[in-house]
Symmetry: C2
Subunit: 435 residues, 2 copies
Amino acid sequence: MSGLLIRDTIIVPVDNEKKDKLWFTGDVAIEESKIKEVGKNLQGKYRDFEIIEGKNSLTMPGFVNCHTHAAMTMLRGYADDLPIIEWLSEKIWPCEEHLTEKDIYWGTKLAISEMVKSGTTTFADMYSFMDQVAYAVDESGIRASLSRGIIGKDEEKDELALRESEEFVKEWHGKGEGRITCMLGPHAPYTCSPAYIKKIKKLANELGVGIHIHLAEALSEVEDIKSRYKMRPIELMDSIGLFTGGHVLAAHCVHLSKEEINILVNNNVGIAHNPQSNMKLASGIAPLPILLEKGALVGLGTDGAASNNNLDMLEEMRTCALFHKVSTMDPTVLSAYQVLKMSTREGARVLGLNDVGTLAVGQKADVIMFDLKKPHMTPLHDPIANIVYSAQSADVKTVIVNGKIIMKDRSLITMDEEKIIFEAQRLGEDLVKRK
Amino acid sequence: MSGLLIRDTIIVPVDNEKKDKLWFTGDVAIEESKIKEVGKNLQGKYRDFEIIEGKNSLTMPGFVNCHTHAAMTMLRGYADDLPIIEWLSEKIWPCEEHLTEKDIYWGTKLAISEMVKSGTTTFADMYSFMDQVAYAVDESGIRASLSRGIIGKDEEKDELALRESEEFVKEWHGKGEGRITCMLGPHAPYTCSPAYIKKIKKLANELGVGIHIHLAEALSEVEDIKSRYKMRPIELMDSIGLFTGGHVLAAHCVHLSKEEINILVNNNVGIAHNPQSNMKLASGIAPLPILLEKGALVGLGTDGAASNNNLDMLEEMRTCALFHKVSTMDPTVLSAYQVLKMSTREGARVLGLNDVGTLAVGQKADVIMFDLKKPHMTPLHDPIANIVYSAQSADVKTVIVNGKIIMKDRSLITMDEEKIIFEAQRLGEDLVKRK
C-alpha cells in the first residue's frame, strides 16, 4: 500500500486531551483515505509513502465550517452596513431570485477554493440548485454535508420540494468516495409551518439523514414565533419532535431561554455558532459560554459570504474567543484550545460525522499544514495560541482531504483557480445587474 | 526628477469624500517622499519614473497603527486566556523586568516586519529602551511616533526618566528623513501621579512634542482613580491641564462618562481605539459610535502582541466594525469606509501627523497595494467592502513609505526577514526562561 508521510512536524491531534500533550513533534502516516499512524520516526516503517516535509510546519485536522450558503460568495461585498430588512428585501432576495444553475456552480467553486485556501476541509451547506453544489464538491475533493433549502409556499410547491429533496439525497448521499453526505433543509420555523417541518422530519427519518435548519437567529424571529404559536422557536421545534429520532444541525441559536438551552443539550442538537455573521447583522450574542458549560455540542460556521464577508475559519475562531471574553467581561472564557476543538472535532460531530475532525488513527485523513515561519507566528511559545490568535489563512500551505492532497504549497491541485476567479467575477457582475 | 508611477490601479485616496468618488481607476505618481499627482494616464508625463503595474491591485494610504508596544511581540502567545491580574503579575511583568536592549531591538524588528507585511506604514509606540526602537525604525524605513514609557517611582528615578525622555526627543525627533517623531509617554494616571504628569506635560510643551498615555482602559482603573482623586481618569487629566497646549494621544478610552466624552471631543484629543485588545483582556466596550457622532478624533490600534496577538490592522478594522454593530444591535454603525478612514487618515491625525494618511497631492507617499486576484476578494462589487470585510494581510503585496519601496511582491527590501525570525525566536525562548 502507498500513502503519505508528513515528517518532523508539530502535531495538534485534537484528540484525547486527557492522555496526550495537546501538541508534540512527530510524523503522520496516511494510508488511502485514513490516518494510519501518528508517532515518532515513522519513515522506516512506511518506506514507499510519499514524503511531505513538516519542518517549520504545524499539522492538525482541517477545519469544519458548520454553516454556509456557499454560492452567496457571488454577493460578497454587494450589500453591507444596511438595516436588516433593507439588506434582505432590496438587495439579497432580489438577487437570489435570479440565481441560475451556473451562478450556483461557479459561486460554490469560488467558495470551495477560498475554503480550501484557508484550511477548511468540510462544510455544511444549505442553498438551492444543490446538484450544482454536489458537482462542485465532487470535483474539488472537499468534504461536505449538503441540504436543499426548503421554504414553505403552497401545497403543490411544498410537495415538489419534498420530492426534490428526496431525489437529491438518493442521488448524492455517500457519493464522492463518501465525502458527500446529505441532510434535509427546512429553512426555519418562520418560513416553514410546524406541519411542514414535521413532514420533512418524517422523510429525513425514512431516508436516514439529518436535518439542517436555522433556529433562533434574530429577536424578530423569536417574537414572530411566539406571537404565532405561543412558544419560542426551539420549544416549538421540540413540541413537534424535531430533535428526536435523527440528528439535527441548528444554525445560530442566538436567542435562547434556559429551557431551550436544556432542550438543545438534552437532545445533543448540533449547534452551528456563527459569530461574525451574528455581529455583522447585529443579530445578537449567543450564550456560548453557558452552552459549553452545560455540555452542548457546538461548532463554528461562517454563514454565507454576504454576511461575513469571507469563509475564513481562523477569523471565526479568533472572533469567537475575543467576542465572548468581552461579552462576559471574563478573559478566561473560550480558551484558544476550546475554539480549536469547536472548529475541528466538535464541528464534525455537529454535522453528525464521527470519523472526521481529529488525527486519531482510523479517522478520515482530513489534514492541514500551517507554515510557522512567518513574522506574525514568531516566537513559537505556544503553537495553539499562535494558530488561534495570530495566524492568517494564507499561512495554510497544504490541505489533504480523504487522504488526497488538494492544495500543495498554496497551489490548488483539483481546481483551476484562475478560471474560477474569472467566471465568478463575470457572473457576479451580471447577477447584480439582472435583479 | 525620478520617482515611482503606479499604473492602472484601483485607487482609494481616503481624501475629500465630498468631491470625489470613494474609489476610481487611475495612476499615482510619487516624487521623492511625496504624492505628486493622482489621475488618469500619467505615464506620458512621468516618463523616467519607475513603473509599478497596478492591474488587479488596489492602491490606498498605508495603515496607521495608533497604539503599540512593538517589542511585546517577544511575548506573543506566551500567556493567554488568564485572569488579568495573573496575566500581568505572574507572566508579563516578570518577563518585562528581564528585557534587554537586544530583546527590544529584535522584538521591534519582528514587529516592524509583521506590520509592513500587513500594510502598516506608521505606528505609535510606547515602551522601554526606545533608542533601540528608533534604530529599528530608522533602518527599516517605516514611519513611527515614539515615546519612552514613564512609570512613577521615586523622586530620583522620576527625574532620571524625565531627563532620558528629553534626551531621547532631542536625539530622535525629526530623524530618519523625518519619519521619526517623538512624544513623551507617561504610562497612565494610575502609574504616574498628577504632579508627575504635570511635570511631563510641561517638558513636552517645552520640547514641542505631544503626549502618549493610556487612559480609562479598565473599570478597575476608573475605580482606583475615583477613590484616590474623587474624579474619573479623564476628568483628572483635564483638571491638571493635560489636554491643553499640545497634542495628546490617549490609548483605549473605554470607560467614559458623558462629561469625559465632551472633554475628549472639545480638546481634540487623539483616541487610539484598540478593539481586539479590549476584547481579549475583557477590558470593556468603548462607546465608539457615540464618540464618532460627537466628532471625536479616533484611530485604530492593535496594542501589544501579548494582548492581541498580532499587529494586523485589517483584523482590527473588521473586528471594530463587527463588534460595534452587535454591541449597539445596529448593523449600520461603523461602515466599511468609516473604519477605513480611522485606520488611515484619522489615525494619522490621532498621532498629530497632518501630512500622512491620504493620497492627496503633497502628502507623504505612504502607500500600500493589495492584490485583488484572490478567491476571497472575488467578485469585486465594492473594493472598499472587500478590503475591510474580506481581505487578509497576505493580500498586501507592495508597501511604500516616504516614497521608498520597502516591500515588493511580499519581499521585504530593507529587512532580513529570515534573520529577524531567527533572532526573535532565539531571544523570545530565552526571555521566558530568564524570568
